[in-house]
Symmetry: C2
Subunit: 150 residues, 2 copies
């Protein structure tokens, strides 16, 4: 897929509105829609990189650095008791959007995601979503990032 | 769990033999036993860090740096067509060993891991394993690391 047709490039460029919770020189993080759980984030490089084989190492580590920060924030801001990091490369591995993305999935005692699975596998019940719910989660995360909660 | 009873600390210290394929000042990578797929690796910090909330950021990024290198190597050395990175924090998230570990799971066209799942979820058929199979996979990965395949 050309970068100018890539949905994640559209988000990075600000042409597709999302709840952005973190951004630095290398990566942007925003709420995944639909989410696996409340506060489910994607961390993506600003540049169009297909997967772990095409992303430069410094951008991959920048994504992990952001995930590390955000994992701390979502525990404090949203009350998550667990976090899954997931990063899929290649169709066989379940990659569905071909711009490198690192999932940061908050886990809650009452969520319905299987322990060993990512979102979308049954039994899975979508959490409350919608613009207002996303705004509330994003505001809490942004406040945690600003406060240096992690 | 105290660090002196941690199974991953035992591996880092060399008291529990594993097929180590990569090591640097911060992290060690070795074959997971049992594997989800041939060449399934764990990248762990040398220091005892429970999870993403207790590992320093520079060690988390060192783990991603190693995974980035190894993802390239396993594609070249083992013929993987996909790779899943998985890192679980907290019992609710499926963490079972409480020393930070980043799974690097090669994916093959004929593997039996569900696209959205990690190993252990049905339907899952263990790949060929045993000391000889592990040695062959590890030798191929070590040769790739040494050759700078990635």
């Amino acid at each position: 897929m050309a970068a100018d047709r890539c949905p994640l490039c559209e988000i990075v460029a600000g042409r597709q509105p999302k709840e952005i919770v973190y951004a630095d020189a290398s990566v942007v993080a925003f709420l995944c829609e639909p989410p696996a759980t409340e506060g489910h984030l994607l961390v993506v490089p600003r540049a169009h990189r297909r997967d772990i084989w095409s992303i430069p190492r410094n951008e991959a580590t920048a994504a992990m650095s952001a995930a590390h920060l955000l994992a701390g924030v979502i525990r404090e801001a949203l009350g998550a008791t667990g976090v899954n990091l997931r990063q899929n490369n290649g169709g066989r591995a379940g990659q569905d959007v071909f711009h490198f993305h690192l999932h940061v999935v908050p886990r809650y005692e009452d969520d319905t995601v299987l322990p060993g699975c990512v979102w979308g596998e049954p039994p899975w019940v979508a959490p409350p979503d919608g613009a207002e719910a996303r705004r509330r989660a994003a505001d809490a995360i942004r406040a945690g990032v600003a406060a240096g909660t992690a």
